[in-house]
């Protein structure tokens, strides 16, 4: 027992050592930046010291209606999420059901996934106007392909044995679909929705910034145009924080949906 305790402690230390090293390096990096900026080696009119950015974070949260902006951006993302789920899953199911359609357009969907849709944002502005719908529709078009492709992948990957179980119970076509195929495909479909939502968030914040309209993206543009450097950096940090939390939440849901195999 007495020999096991130090060994366990060493193992625990080895476990947290990499994470602690990583964190220490990040902290050290910001400390060095602070020192370089204060000493004048890096101009504070180009890079504000990290301490000022931390100060500005509180100001940006209090004065720039960040809660309203946050809910606006997240609202746009979730609207897009609902739309890609409805249209993406329906499209995937239709393409899985009608093989001819799948053979004809699956490569087109894959090409759309590789296409830089967000660059067409001036086009969306002409069609929808400079409003939230432009932002939502760009998110929708950019985020739709992974949902369609993953729905097809999930449905085609249903294990043969499950389909045979359905057959042996004499399930009708729709029962087979809703009781066997869809539940089996759900984790893969959610992977598509997760990817879609990440694309949606990236595109939505990006377009908000570019067209200077709406939530968090606009805030960065606004602060940059006012030449409020600590505020700009603080807002960028806030947006990164939001997207990391968003990303982690989606991962948690995905892990929860995946069957423990």
């Amino acid at each position: 027992m007495s020999a096991a305790a130090p060994a366990r402690r060493a193992a625990a230390l080895a476990d947290i050592a990499p994470a602690a090293t990583g964190l220490a390096c990040v902290v050290a990096f910001f400390a060095v930046m602070e020192a370089l900026i204060r000493s004048g080696l890096i101009s504070e009119y180009i890079v504000p010291p990290p301490s000022q950015v931390i100060d500005a974070l509180g100001r940006v949260v209090m004065e720039e209606h960040i809660v309203r902006r946050f809910f606006l951006t997240i609202g746009e993302c979730l609207t897009t999420g609902v739309m890609i789920t409805v249209f993406g899953v329906a499209g995937g199911v239709a393409m899985h059901r009608y093989k001819l359609l799948q053979q004809a357009v699956e490569t087109w969907v894959a090409a759309l996934a590789a296409a830089p849709v967000v660059l067409a944002y001036p086009l969306f502005m002409v069609i929808f106007g400079r409003n939230a719908w432009t932002i939502i529709m760009i998110g929708f078009v950019a985020a739709l392909p992974p949902v369609i492709l993953k729905t097809i992948e999930g449905l085609s990957g249903t294990r043969k044995v499950l389909i045979n179980v359905g057959r042996s119970f004499n399930l009708s076509g729709s029962q087979q679909f809703f009781k066997i195929m869809l539940p089996a495909a759900l984790p893969t479909i959610f992977t598509g929705i997760r990817l879609g939502l990440i694309f949606a968030l990236i595109n939505i914040v990006g377009v908000e910034f570019l067209i200077n309209y709406g939530g968090l993206g606009q805030l960065i543009n606004d602060l940059a145009e006012r030449y409020d450097l600590p505020g700009t950096y603080a807002a960028i940090c806030f947006v990164i924080l939001v997207s990391v939390v968003f990303f982690m939440t989606l991962e948690k849901i995905e892990r929860w949906l995946r069957p423990a195999t």
């Binding site: 990583g22 890079v47 053979q103 944002y121 001036p122 002409v126 990440i198 914040v205 570019l210 990391v244």
Partner: protein
């Protein structure tokens, strides 16, 4: 894909496959709806310009020398961005992939910073690198660094241990190991990383050009928008999408990626 190819080739009585017929039908249908909308007058004039107007703009665009100047600027910026961001990505990926401790210390930051929107760094890049090409290249490089690094690190870890043991048993030195074992074994992850990086560098660079610049394809697009020359904007977008999808396919084909599915 194999199944699709197989079925696509099954001809109908007329000698044209049903898939081709459906594809042609869909394209013709979409074009007909477009032209119908253009002529209907339901939408504001020029929001949906007629196909003829777009074709004319396309010809005018491709025959003007000025377009190739802007194309050259953008291609140059993307190439430099990919070289810097992708090069750093490959080096960081190899280091993280080869060292478990460093991977556990730093990879989580790359993993979570990767999918954040990069365009929001543009004001910072303007401050650091100026309003010229520098800030566009920096944004493109920043955008493509993350996917390349993560893809290379993951690829490095997936190398078959047997190959590494074979190299060691032949007493290969470090350079021989890299040249004969690691790099050939990692061709797919590196090419795939570069392909992802290329797409993202292209988006980063062009978005930056649309926000603030006086040359490049992004500038042409936003310029056509601000002068409300819709046929020219459509023509620019069509050429850009063809180039982007073509470049993506070319890198995939070049790296033999068509043998593996995404």
């Amino acid at each position: 894909m194999a199944a699709t190819g197989h079925l696509t080739k099954a001809p109908t009585r007329s000698g044209v496959s049903a898939v081709t017929l459906l594809r042609v039908g869909l394209v013709v249908g979409a074009l007909a709806i477009w032209e119908g909308l253009a002529r209907s007058g339901w939408l504001y004039r020029d929001v949906v310009p007629s196909l003829l107007a777009i074709a004319k703009a396309l010809v005018a665009l491709l025959t003007s020398g000025e377009y190739y100047f802007h194309l050259g600027v953008t291609v140059g910026e993307i190439a430099v961005a990919l070289a810097i961001g992708g090069g750093c990505g490959v080096v960081v990926g190899l280091i993280l992939g080869g060292n478990r401790f460093l991977a556990r210390a730093f990879e989580i930051y790359l993993y979570y910073l990767g999918p954040t929107p990069k365009i929001i760094f543009f004001p910072v890049m303007i401050m650091w690198f100026g309003v010229g090409s520098g800030s566009k290249i920096a944004l493109g490089a920043l955008s493509c660094f993350f996917p390349v690094a993560l893809s290379v690190a993951a690829g490095m870890r997936e190398i078959d241990r047997v190959l590494i043991r074979v190299g060691r048993s032949f007493r290969a030195d470090t350079w021989q190991m890299i040249a004969k074992i690691y790099l050939p074994a990692m061709r797919h992850p590196i090419i795939n990383g570069v392909r992802l990086g290329l797409g993202i560098a292209l988006i980063g660079t062009l978005l930056a050009e649309t926000k603030l610049s006086n040359k490049g394809i992004g500038f042409l697009i936003i310029n056509a928008y601000s002068t409300f020359d819709m046929p020219r904007m459509y023509a620019n977008l069509i050429v850009l999408f063809v180039i982007a999808i073509g470049a993506n396919a070319l890198v995939g084909r070049f790296g033999g990626l068509d043998t593996i599915r995404r």
